[in-house]
């Protein structure tokens, strides 16, 4: 087995790389330096995405390594120096059937969890609450239709303010989207101008905001914390500068935040219910 020894080093390397990827080391709700895989997911959808992606990684690496080794072996075994007289074989029905059927089988194996994930992530069954997200050039409006129409805008902090607030540069915002943990939240996304995309990697949430449409997705955040995302559809000069910051709070803390927010945003909010609600407190 002279051939195999020659591939031991690259093989070992790929196996290590594979393990690294599957084991997915330090992860966070924001990107980390030299990160190799997804951010830590904190939603049920994200957990499924993660599992499914692990399966896909195995398939991906399996196929790529197989093709590479087969190609390398073929090159070695049939190099002109060792095989001066080429064969004239141009057909082998069995192998041709095999390399059509085996990929089909692999695809079916992929398709089953794929569809499960797809249908699970589509819509919240019985949403506990709704958030309406409206994209603008270049900030987000968040509206809580269940909370007397509480509405506010969320704009990126500049580098200094972000630092002061403890946010990473380009990811901090003045008014984050605050949601309770453990609730099924229906998210409706639209736009006031060009297309944008509401994308929060650690929540496995992404959907375009398009004027004239209300696109629907959902999330249930199982862990209190801060999760960052960014606009992900080119939308003009400041496309890189309209981040999303989501804070998930325990129920009680969230209730307090709601009270405060209703007062804080009553002034610049057009909804009369909210003004009333704020005044009565």
């Amino acid at each position: 087995m002279r051939v195999v020894t020659g591939f031991r080093a690259p093989l070992a390397f790929t196996v290590v790389a594979l393990l690294l990827l599957v084991a997915a080391p330090v992860m966070a709700s924001q990107p980390t330096p030299w990160q190799l895989n997804f951010q830590d997911f904190v939603t049920p959808v994200g957990a499924l995405v993660d599992d499914f992606h692990t399966l896909l990684l195995v398939v991906e690496f399996g196929i790529a390594i197989f093709v590479f080794l087969l190609l390398a072996y073929t090159c070695y075994r049939f190099r002109a120096a060792s095989n001066p007289n080429p064969s004239k074989t141009t057909h082998n029905t069995l192998i041709e059937v095999l390399w059509t059927v085996i990929p089909v089988v692999i695809l079916v194996i992929i398709a089953v969890p794929s569809f499960k994930l797809l249908y699970f992530m589509d819509k919240a069954e019985n949403p506990d609450m709704t958030i309406k997200v409206t994209a603008n050039q270049w900030y987000w409006d968040y509206e809580y239709p269940d909370q007397e129409g509480l509405t506010f805008s969320s704009t990126m902090l500049d580098a200094e303010d972000a630092k002061a607030a403890g946010d990473p540069r380009l990811l901090g915002v003045d008014n984050p989207l605050v949601v309770p943990v453990g609730q099924n939240i229906q998210v409706l996304v639209t736009s006031n101008d060009v297309m944008h995309s509401f994308f929060v990697p650690s929540l496995a949430v992404q959907i375009y905001g398009i004027s004239g449409r209300a696109n629907e997705t959902w999330m249930r955040i199982d862990k209190a914390g801060t999760y960052y995302g960014q606009c992900n559809q080119i939308c003009g000069v400041n496309h890189s500068f309209m981040p999303i910051k989501v804070i998930a709070m325990e129920e009680a803390e969230y209730a307090q935040w709601l009270l405060k927010a209703k007062q804080e945003f009553a002034m610049d909010n057009p909804s009369p219910e909210l003004k009333l609600a704020a005044a009565s407190q």
Partner: protein, 535 residues
């Protein structure tokens, strides 16, 4: 080889004298092919310079060289459009296709030589319009089109902005007309001008690949033309095809664009597949394994390519059943693609392989394209794509199939046919240097993009959160290595022309058994004055 070539010794037989007559009025398929390759080469250099400038900007967080996001957006847009329409397509389809389809099927020229002339001469004005668009007021209020190569409305349709978008639309109109005329020409040539005995099922696979590509062009490009014309009227004449406020829908544009756009990506790779098939068989000294399977795999890819477009649109709010359908359909493409990969390896199996430069490029293409293929299968799953769409993972995917698929196919073809087209041998040493620098450069550039994409880095960003710095730095270094490689290549071309090492008719030995190797290097101005015959 039973074919005979006439006038192989008669070099300048019939070539018009004088620059204007020979090149501007050209109706000769080889001259037009040469012009396409040079034109595409210029496009490629322009696109490459833009990409290096972009990588310089992204090398570190913060703004380095560019003043604001408008500049960035204009560059990404121009880079994409230039590489697709003014580099890959002119070289791989029109350039190699014009040169070698007639030669390989034993035809004296293309079916419509004058139409061939107008096909080419529509391209320079198209490029000029696109370049001009970078200097007039555009989508962002600043000069240039900053909407991405996918030019989605409403960003691209905002009527209050300047003429840049309109110029880009006209540019695409001209380039599209050129492609449609070229496609009609190829189809007619292949169907009607094959030498006696050259049946469809005996055509070299490169000819098959161009034939399938021509059909894709003929069916896909008019849809783009329609879409951008509707965009033009939305912008200038008060229609509202894509404007929700007027009863239209921006998503309609996405459907039309990707109905063109997905076949378009196969338009760029199929001729490269054809080139690789020729080369693998030549340098293994073996006929192609599973010839019919190879030919019909391309037909299948072409057909399925028309029914998968919405895999680019999983996040626009399509119904879940629609996404499920497009997931399934997209995964199906992997099957004929796998047939191609395995048939290439089977062609080599049992062969007598020599590792000349064209073969090196082809081998690299096979393995790197496989990587792009498996990431494609990942993206085909709508459930995963919701988290990967528009991230650098997608950028990694499509550069593995384009910068390593289409580009490596182009270089494989150039190194394969350079002696035939120019009559000179290039320096193997420089060629090897070019190959390895490119190989290292593109992998360094694009592999880390999978990581930053998984971590959530969005595409089309001029500045990114600091955590992404590491992989971006590596990518930037990689792009400089590819830039150096390109200089080596230009030097190789210059060196070959100045050293003037004469090439034989067939420099590759008995494995090279297609018709183009029976004529002299370079071929006479008119080939096959006497029709070759096959038995």
């Amino acid at each position: 080889m039973s074919a005979t070539a006439a006038h192989a010794d008669d070099h300048d037989h019939g070539a018009p004298i004088g620059f204007v007559r020979r090149w501007l009025y050209s109706t000769n398929h080889k001259d037009i092919g040469t012009m396409y390759i040079i034109f595409g080469g210029i496009g490629g250099i322009v696109g490459l310079l833009m990409s290096i400038y972009m990588r310089m900007e992204l090398q570190a967080p913060g703004l380095q060289y560019m003043t604001d996001g408008n500049v960035w957006n204009v560059l990404v847009t121009a880079h994409g459009l230039v590489m697709v329409f003014f580099f890959v397509m002119p070289v791989v389809i029109s350039g190699f296709g014009n040169w070698f389809v007639p030669l390989m099927i034993g035809a004296p020229d293309m079916a419509f030589p004058r139409m061939n002339n107008i096909s080419f001469w529509l391209m320079p004005p198209a490029l000029i319009l696109l370049v001009l668009s970078m200097f007039v007021e555009g989508t962002g209020g600043a000069p240039g089109v900053g909407a991405g190569w996918t030019i989605y409305p409403p960003l691209s349709s905002a009527p209050q902005t300047g003429m840049a978008m309109d110029l880009a639309i006209f540019s695409l109109h001209l380039a599209g007309a050129s492609s449609i005329l070229g496609a009609a020409n190829f189809i007619t040539t292949v169907f009607n001008m094959r030498a006696p005995g050259m049946t469809l099922h005996r055509m070299p696979l490169f000819v098959w690949s161009v034939l399938v590509t021509a059909f894709l062009l003929l069916l896909a490009v008019p849809v783009l033309a329609g879409a951008i014309t509707m965009l033009l009227t939305d912008r200038n004449f008060g229609t509202s095809f894509f404007d929700a406020a007027g009863g239209g829908d921006p998503v309609l544009f996405l459907h039309l664009f990707w109905f063109f756009g997905h076949p378009e990506v196969y338009i760029m790779i199929l001729p490269a597949f054809g080139i690789v098939s020729q080369i693998v068989s030549t340098f293994s000294r073996k006929p192609v394994f599973g010839y019919l399977g190879m030919a019909y795999a391309m037909v299948a890819i072409g057909f399925v390519g028309f029914i998968v477009w919405a895999h680019h649109m999983y996040t626009v709010g399509l119904d879940v059943d629609t996404r499920a359908y497009f997931t399934a359909a997209t995964m199906v493409i992997a099957v004929p693609t796998g047939v191609k990969i395995f048939s290439w390896i089977a062609t080599m199996w049992g062969g007598s392989i020599s590792f000349k430069l064209p073969m090196m490029w082809s081998l690299a293409l096979i393995i790197l394209f496989t990587i792009g293929g498996v990431t494609g299968v990942v993206l085909s799953n709508a459930g995963i794509d919701m988290t990967l769409h528009n991230t650098y993972f997608v950028i990694g995917h499509f550069h593995y199939v384009l910068s390593m698929g289409a580009l490596f196919g182009i270089f494989a073809g150039i190194y394969f046919w350079f002696p035939k087209m120019t009559g000179y041998h290039y320096s193997e040493k420089l060629g090897n240097l070019h190959f390895w620098l490119t190989f290292i450069g593109v992998n360094l550039t694009f592999f880390p993009m999978h990581f930053s994409g998984l971590a959530g880095m969005p595409r089309r960003y001029i500045d990114y959160p600091d955590a992404f710095e590491g992989w971006n730095y590596v990518s930037s270094i990689g792009s400089y290595v590819s830039g150096i490689a390109s200089i080596v290549f230009l030097f190789l071309v210059w060196e070959a022309f100045s050293a003037k090492r004469k090439a034989e008719d067939n420099p590759w030995g008995e494995g090279a058994d297609t018709l183009e190797w029976t004529v002299s290097s370079p071929p006479p101005f008119h080939t096959f004055n006497e029709q070759p015959k096959f038995n």
